[in-house]
Symmetry: C2
Subunit: 156 residues, 2 copies
């Protein structure tokens, strides 16, 4: 992928769509373009959280490893989805494993550049907050469904 193609891809990502041309170019310039095969890991729980991934082809599985080596599925993300931003925003190590589901292409953006651009533009900031809030809402629904499956899920 060349530099202009990267700018075009970034422009299609809702969070980045309102950035001006110089910002998009800076974002493209500080991005790596990576390919993964089915099952390959993008990152592991505990890795340094120094970059953000944007999926532009394929899908990823976000999961947690349990102490007994079992695995809990958390989410499946696809084209135009952002991941890894939580560790960057909170300045924490990775909180989950991410694996490619089938052939995958992603942009890997340096965390500090991502944070500078996304907090410095009101529309991008609102877009990023919306991504996080919507993820929280989806998770609340999953949590609610799970609680309702428990033997004693409710407080009367």
């Amino acid at each position: 992928m060349n530099y202009n193609e990267a700018v075009s891809v970034l422009r299609t990502i809702p969070v980045f769509a309102t950035l001006d041309s110089p910002s998009l170019k800076l974002l493209a310039f500080s991005s790596s373009y990576l390919s993964f095969e089915d099952g390959e890991a993008l990152c592991h729980q505990g890795d340094p959280g120094d970059s953000v991934f944007v999926v532009y082809e394929g899908e990823v599985e976000v999961s947690l490893v349990l102490p007994d080596n079992g695995r809990i599925h958390l989410a499946r993300l696809g084209r135009n989805d952002i991941l890894g931003e939580m560790a960057v925003i909170c300045n924490l190590p990775r909180t989950a494993d991410v694996h490619a589901c089938g052939p995958l292409k992603v942009l890997k953006i340096e965390g500090d550049v991502f944070l500078q651009l996304v907090t410095g533009n009101p529309d991008a900031a609102h877009g990023m907050m919306r991504v996080l809030a919507e993820r929280l809402l989806r998770f609340t629904e999953q949590y609610e469904q799970l609680r309702r499956c428990m033997p004693d899920p409710v407080v009367p």
Copy 2:
């Protein structure tokens, strides 16, 4: 609470701490100062999501009502915590009930003013993203614990 006291309270809220004086004054000017008694509802699931609450004294319980009138506890929030921001950010109705746990005092901020100030200031935007991301992380931990209590929680 008078206007200057409101500005002082807002300045202690981490998300707003970096706003300049005119922004804090605008925030204080567009806020209402409300008191609730133990068990009183601040908002119900499905209400319009047109404002954000900041707790400055007491605690609140965030919960969901189930179709059989049972209730699922989601979170307990206290001093300096923000709530109701998800509905404002996503332009959605309230996604949960919020009740006072004991005597409660909150600032109620108009949603559009909140959004304008918090997206227009890079530090406040980062602070708001951090609040959402940390909430998501806490929720992931709760979800993980719940999944581990299920009869068949893991995929080998």
